[in-house]
């Protein structure tokens, strides 16, 4: 049985003002995503994938339209409430890894737990177990820029899962990695999110990743179109 939709996008439009000109990035986007689904957002660079992910996460606000996650209307609540929602329910993976350079691998991993004041021994142990899962236990004390790109992205994946979020958003997670490392990272992402039963929305320009997707959505000219997922 199909699980109920936990993410609803209603008539989302995002317009950027560029001097006198308006640049419409997303136009009347409507979509629903279910719990545990792995969704791939396909699109060329500049098509609006990152913008859509930013709107879903609440780190940006739409010009018009609504984002509802788990019955919470993100676009109607305050910035503070959005932040707290994001802190609790969303995990992020970025193209450029975006680990905190002044924190070690372990500290980066535990950061979401600390923000959620859930850094008790049990949760910390679970989080550290993720380090084993990504094979970087021995690098726990290293600073991010002593790690390779692939290693950094593995830490970012683990960090996105540490606090057991509802939704994971990944923006071009392999965009900065070589093909082989990219595959490894994708496998890890696929395995860990499915293992945890999380919803994953991944923005990418590469068709190579569609193999792991439950649903494929393409953004073109600001519109979102669904493609048939191929096994």
């Amino acid at each position: 049985m199909r699980k109920p939709a936990i993410i609803k996008l209603r008539n989302l439009t995002k317009v950027y003002q560029e001097g006198e000109r308006e640049h419409i990035v997303l136009r009347e986007v409507n979509a629903e995503f279910n719990e545990g689904e792995l969704i791939v957002l396909l699109g060329r660079s500049g098509s609006g994938k990152s913008t859509l992910l930013n709107l879903i996460s609440g780190i940006d606000v739409p010009t018009t339209g609504e984002v509802i996650i788990n019955s919470t209307p993100l676009t109607r609540i305050s910035e503070q409430a959005r932040t707290l929602f994001r802190r609790r329910h969303i995990g992020f993976i970025f193209q450029f890894f975006n680990l905190i350079p002044t924190l070690t691998v372990e500290e980066n991993l535990l950061l979401p737990l600390e923000l959620n004041v859930r850094n008790n021994a049990e949760e910390v142990e679970k989080a550290l177990h993720l380090l084993d899962e990504i094979g970087l236990r021995d690098r726990a004390g290293s600073y991010p820029d002593r790690l390779s790109g692939g290693e950094q992205q593995r830490v970012a994946i683990a960090r996105a899962l540490t606090h057991d979020p509802l939704l994971i958003l990944a923006d071009e997670p392999t965009g900065n990695l070589d093909l082989e490392t990219g595959h490894d990272v994708l496998d890890l992402l696929d395995r860990l999110t499915r293992q945890a039963g999380k919803t994953l929305i991944m923005g990418t320009h590469s068709r190579e990743v569609v193999g792991i997707a439950d649903r494929i959505l393409t953004i073109r000219s600001g519109q979102l179109m669904e493609e048939e997922a191929t096994p």
Binding site: R86, R87, G91, P101, T102, L111
Partner: protein, 851 residues
Amino acid sequence: MNRILWRASLRHLLTHPWQTGLAVLGIALGVAVVVSINLAEVSAKRAFALSIETVIGKATHQIIGGPSGLDEAIYVQLRVEEGWKSAAPVVEGYVYVPGDPGRTLKLLGVDPFEESPFRTYWQHFGRDSAIDMATLVTEPNTALLSAITAKQLGLKRGDTLKLRVDGEPYAVRIVGLSPSGNSKGKFSLDDVLLTDISTAQTLLGMLGRLSRVDLILPTGQQGSAQLERLRALLPPAPEVIPTGVHTETIQQMTRAFHTNLTALSLLALLVGMFLIYNTMTFLVVQRRELIGNLRALGVTRRQIFKTILVEALSIGLVGTLCGLLFGMLLGEGLLGLVTQTINDLYFAVTVRQLAVPPLALALAVLLGLGVTALAAFVPANEAAIVPPRVAMSRSLFETKAHHWVRRSALSGVLVIAFATATLLLPSNSLGLGLIGLFALVLGATLITPAATVALVRLCQPAVSRVFGLIGRLAARSVLASLSRTTVAVAALMVAVSAVLSIGIMIGSFRLSVAEWLDSVVRADLYVSLPHPVASPPEGTLAPALVERIGAAPGVVDWSTVRRTRIDSERGITEIVAYKLSPHSHSGFRFKEGDPSAIWPAFEDQEAVLISEPYAYRHGLGVNALVRLRTDHGERDFRVAGVYYDYGSDQGVIAMSRRTYERNWTDRGVSGIGIYLDPDTAPKEIEEVLHRIAGPHQEVQIVSNRAIREASLEVFDRTFAITEVLRLLAAVVAFIGVFSALTALELERAREFGMLRAIGLTPRQLWGLIMSQTGLMGVAAGLLALPVGVALAVTLIYVINQRSFGWTMDAYISSGSLAQAMLLAVTAAVLAGIYPAFKMTRARPADMLREE
């Protein structure tokens, strides 16, 4: 330099307007402080030189007498009996203008027929129809005044100018308005009242006497022969001295004052230098990846070095030019303070306008650019020599910074050892003292990174416990970005320690002066001619008045003082002759000598006391001999004791009235200190004394409390300029810290964006930024305390002593330390407000896009 590299560099500066602007502002302020002080000093010196040129003119030598001047018969003998040409009599002194309180005019009495060869301004008078020279010579009580001074006093030709001389009223008729100066600035007659000899003698109570006789002697052997002949003709008391000696002595008086001001302004520039260093370091660090890429593309080290240096010099040039303009404006303001201090402490000088010599401006440009190049050298060199791989990796860069911290600390210890050795050297050299002081600042700066690391590590557990994750992140980010944070901490530390040390120095000085005043101002009432209460008494009280005041009801005892100056070839010596009441003895605190032996020697054996600055400047102590020119020729006086005195930094020689009268013919009294019967009310006695004085002279009667208060007021006024410089150093430092912290925080926009994305609230982000800057402020404050105290001790025991000859105890209050701490933390926290505001207002999506 490669045009594309230059274009890239320029665009980077333009796209970081805040940083570029603050760097320009920092340099501008640093240069402005130096320029303004320099211009104010040059103007004061030039005005002084001009007034000397006006009154001395082309005279090569002067015949001078004792405190009561020269007998005019000497001039008559020279001119008439010996046929001596090129000699001009001069009577000079100061007169007060009661209509314009506080205004003093220099009275210059000359013989118009002898003047032309001596003073250049005289040549302009003959052609000027506005001057009635015949009346000036033939009519008594007539005078010339400069057109500008007359206008300021609301006078025109033919008007009467009311004057007060030695408390007695006089009036002179203005028979001509002279030009203030000529276009070449060779003379300045502003605030000069020009009369003939007899009018000046009448006004100054010098009938039959002259202040000096000016001479023009040829150079070479002929001149020496004439000098020999002249000395043979003169009686033993008058002395012939070259005019340069006199000028040099007066200029010498202010030398330490000027040196100290210059040192203070250089301190402001030093803080400005940190700012430039900060900015350039940030501009380099921000582009480490770009520099790495450029190096990888084949750009040479030399090209990188040149690009960074040219970039810095461009900022330096703009900042320097702005600084010149601002400095000229600031100089106008400081001119008043500098002149006021010179007038309060040394001699009267009138400065009407700021002189702007091109050489001073050129030097300021060189200084601004030189300091910029020096400050930019390290970051430019760092950018050039760092391997591309390291340049592109932040952690490798920071690891290098950690290594550098150790090396820097070691160098700091060595520099401090050098500074200590320099300061402990038994020397009187002010220059060496200043080198030691600046080395101390440099050493402390080099140790700052290591000390910051240690302090933050020490604070980390407590900060983490109190502020949790935010505190830990803040402490960690200070340590993880040492290449930037320690420079900001060092700049703030230097500024706060400078502010603290100057504060301690002024506070200690003030306390010492207040204690000294308490002990020295012991009489109940002081009688003198009207003069500024805080200055030593001037003029001469009528002898009959002194007798009557001593006999007044309620007066149980009194002391008298006569202050006078003796010119000689060795310079100007200030003499104070006391007729002391036994009550007064305890007012003297001796640095050297046994008080039980001092007073008998002082009263009965013609021994003298010398003040501490006099002893320091002349290297004298107890039992040394001081040679003075008396009215009966030169003689030696034995020093019985060295006493503390903060009244004159040139030092004075004190002797008993009896000794004075035995050696000089002057019988004048400058002031009387009166001890009252404890049962009488000082106010009533004051009125009685005024009634007694009424028919004789207008006198000023003030209480000991009024003297103490007025003296401390003058003290505060004297240090007003130091306070201004202290404030400017703090402003430059604040801009430096603001610039550094703003750049540091804005650079982390992406990191903050990520933290916001994963759930850090704006309030938490605000807390993070403020904690980080606050922590840096705490580190800077904690480090500034010992450094500030060390600098204060150096200022008090080395710089002050070598500049002015005064010793004092260092007084360090917990309040001043707390203030310094508060200043450091407040400056750092304030500097964090803008980036915190900007970061918390920005959308995380935008922050993540920024690089």
